[in-house]
Symmetry: D2
Subunit: 311 residues, 4 copies
């Protein structure tokens, strides 16, 4: 195609070879100014591959994420003790949550910070699951723990720092349990979809995307929660989308408003940090709601859930 100032050459074919085309810029710098890929790089997660919304059913619990009901996942940042976990579990269940979150293995910026109770934390989660009937979501940090975590969890969480730790994604997928994939702090949406592709291409169709904010120039909030991901993931993919306003804001006082926005925009679930006594939390105290505030949140969300025609 000859224009006045440039000639454009179109290349038809499969993406698996397009890397070679991009190399043309390097090989023939005088002749090829730039190569622009046109094909979308994700397949199995794409809406094209699966036009209907897909849902994720937590196996023996009858909980469906991505269906009519907005699922609330709530619980402490870290599992700290039996008392703390069970008190939270009962309170969030009473307020309407169906899934209990709690970190047993915690990724911490500094090696000197609390790293989680580990296996003992998993056992406490299993106990809470048994006693309350809540499903469990907890984070997987190490490939070596995939079986251990997969046994305990109804949903395996991949944290933001590991969102492109593809070996971990594959290990999580292979447990057969649903995988909730947080967006990395500087991940573009296309890269997030491609990371999800690692799960689906490992023969695990049960993938949930979870927006938890990206790092931007703003320092008032810990991250900038990008709620536009809700309509975008709905457009590009068939997988459910969950919003984590606690990580997104890093401030309990903003969580309420962010939840209302997320529900109004079509989120399939919310992942909220709740602690019986945030001021004594061993991690991320500033962003955890106490039990009363959580109950109030659940109550205030009702008109917005009704407004989107969901439960």
């Amino acid at each position: 195609m000859h224009g006045v100032t440039r000639t454009v050459v179109g290349a038809v074919g499969d993406e698996l070879t397009h890397q070679t085309l991009e190399n043309l810029v390097n090989q023939f710098p005088q002749a090829v100014e730039s190569v622009m890929p046109i094909q979308k790089r994700f397949k199995l997660v794409s809406r094209e591959a699966h036009p209907a919304n897909s849902t994720v059913t937590l196996r023996d619990r009858g909980i469906v994420v991505g269906g009519r009901k907005i699922q609330i996942m709530a619980g402490p940042c870290s599992v700290e003790s039996e008392r703390q976990l069970l008190a939270t579990a009962e309170a969030v269940k009473a307020a309407g949550a169906t899934i209990l979150r709690g970190g047993a293995f915690k990724p911490r910026t500094s090696p000197y910070e609390f790293q989680g109770l580990g296996v003992r934390g998993l056992k406490l989660l299993a106990k809470a699951r048994k006693e309350t009937g809540l499903a469990i979501i907890t984070e997987l940090l190490s490939e070596d723990h995939a079986d251990l975590v997969g046994e305990c969890a109804d949903i395996i969480q991949i944290g933001a720092r590991n969102a492109q730790n593809f070996q971990l994604l594959i290990a999580a997928a292979r447990t057969g349990k649903p995988v909730l994939l947080k967006r990395g702090p500087s991940m573009r949406i296309e890269e997030w979809l491609l990371a999800g592709e690692y799960v689906l291409s490992s023969d695990n169709p049960n993938l949930l995307f979870c927006e938890r904010g990206i790092r931007t120039v703003e320092t008032y909030t810990r991250n900038t929660l990008d709620l536009s991901t809700i309509p975008i993931i709905k457009k590009e993919s068939h997988c459910p989308i969950v919003i984590d306003p606690s990580q997104g804001c890093g401030r309990a006082e903003l969580v309420m408003a962010m939840c209302k926005g997320a529900v109004a925009m079509g989120a399939d679930g919310l992942l909220i940090e709740v602690h019986p006594n945030p001021a004594e939390a061993l991690s991320d105290g500033a962003q955890q709601l106490n039990l009363e505030d959580f109950a109030r949140l659940m109550s205030e969300l009702k008109p917005f859930i009704a407004a989107v025609g969901r439960e």
Copy 2:
């Protein structure tokens, strides 16, 4: 205050002199490692200065921004012709908008792009105002046009690229007309509040903050609309907050969802680009809604407006 590894010295006093304190790091690098300012730097815009919400009344129109009613500002990106403007004005009024937006002077990334109709655009806005009774919001680009724009507009818009063009802010403030201050694409919230301080300290109390997205690593959307600014501005300031989802997303298809979220989170107004024929728009066609989609948006917003207890 002596700790094991550091000694902390506290300094009490007025911010007007703290610059000198920060210089200590430079003057005594061996003695002073860092200086951390503690005082908030904004005053007149702060919630402390004015605990109640302030409202902005468009003078002879009885339109109150920041009150119970969520005000919808809608219209074309650029004023292009009398026909285009009046058709849009009538349609957005019929759908429930109270304020007509339209750019007469347009800041464009390239000098070769359409720069707006200028004075002729202002005249068309005045005509639309007269014929429809809608209030007018339009952008001020140059100090030299402050009087001209101030005469025509009920709200003077300061665009994102000029958000720290303080001379322009002062010129706008001095017209006495309400000023809508967009957030710059890499402005921190504190800087935005301080830019607003330029308006209030120029003896103009009628300031509206307008979030329109910040530039981040994401390239799927033109900007990342930061809806957390709604509860944050409400917390830190008494001034109303307006959301611009059109600039925020750059994609008409996402505007609907962003508006629902903004309303649910407590926005006092929405600024939406609407064009009778977006495909022929002279600027930003990809992000403008057509008249039918706008009417549908207004209708779909109703349950969310009800859910926040507003009109």
Copy 3:
């Protein structure tokens, strides 16, 4: 062009109409998935338009920016007093600088910070110019001051906050004086080149680009100085490139290293903040060098200037 999953349509023609093409996505969302512009949007600043390096000669001074000699522009952030300015001017001249910088009109984040001496500052700069023979660079903040600043300055500086204040760019260009255009804090290189296009298309060929850092997620430094702009501007444009390490780092202690890197990478000039007593500076004290450090810097730069074969 028909591929397996997509059909690509090529469109040949002038950029002045391509906006309409991008609108196709909005008009025919079922038919057109995306529109990718291929033509470069800048013309006059491009290397294609002027294959040789262009140089900027300061009219009556015999100083050439963009030639063999690396020009050093040094002086205080703000002009504060005759004594301060002249002491700095003499010291930087003695150390090898050829151009004196100094702000008379200062853009400040807060209205309560020192805003510069204004016209009195310009007069002091004129005096320093006469007494030392140094050329003068100073910032233009307001269209209304274009003639005033143009009379005094040998180079008019457009600051980062005004980098897309196109009216100001045009006003600066029309004075006929060389214009130094700083990169805005979240400006992409293409946008910076397009902003430069506003100067060249206003019939002023004397444009200098000045990199001063972009705002990123890093908070250790005030900005992230992007030294890759040196080879990029050299590749894409014929205009000289100047580096401002003082704004770029916000820390005097890093300026030395940044200058060495900038020289090694091919910068045509350096813009450095120098103050006889940084600890008492009225603005940005933490990033200004004192006179001895500046002299030491100039001396330490020599082997790097030699290594790039310049003077």
Copy 4:
């Protein structure tokens, strides 16, 4: 400490408990507005812990990183074949490199892209090491491969995507081999230092920091290479710093200039992608130098190495 508008309370003590202090904002929102940590959070990597520069010696090779000699690490992005690897190894050795880089396990954004030769790649690296005497640096992707990679490599590379995969960092550290830790794409310098702390606190003193660019709003380059990290890491830490201009730019044409800047600013090493035929590379072809360009680079770097007084 009582000021006019605020009261500041100082708290003295150990960082291991400061999390609890930050929780005060949540517990007593009426009483505590904010908590500002003052203590630096990193210890073993800090300059305070080890005032002299530390050096990393590659055990049986007599290669010292962080000493007078700037070490050049060069080789292909991916190990593709014996012929490709050995041709590169011999060429880079002849040009002056002392360390051969090459990826056997490759982290790829998409599961459909070339994932590396795996164990076969490691064997080829071992062969190249034996035949040329070059030391080897290669990336570790999975905890399960730590022993395997540790056996083959003289330096274990932790890639940017895994920079906060702390389990992997610990596994790498425990091999006893030197660890090169790339900066994550949105990591602040403090977080990078803290990630390094995971290595040193796992009883492995041989840590190299490697800047490879952060993701910013700029899209011209793949990342924005932040050369200010060189003086900053030198100031804050005793560990050597290596620059990776290939990842940093994503464009071979910019690598030359970036290397000159890095050397001038004090980098202890360079990590450069070199391929005998970049246009046929299986990964990242656009950013790899060919053998002639690499030889030319090494020759052009000489005056800059001399200018910093190194070898």
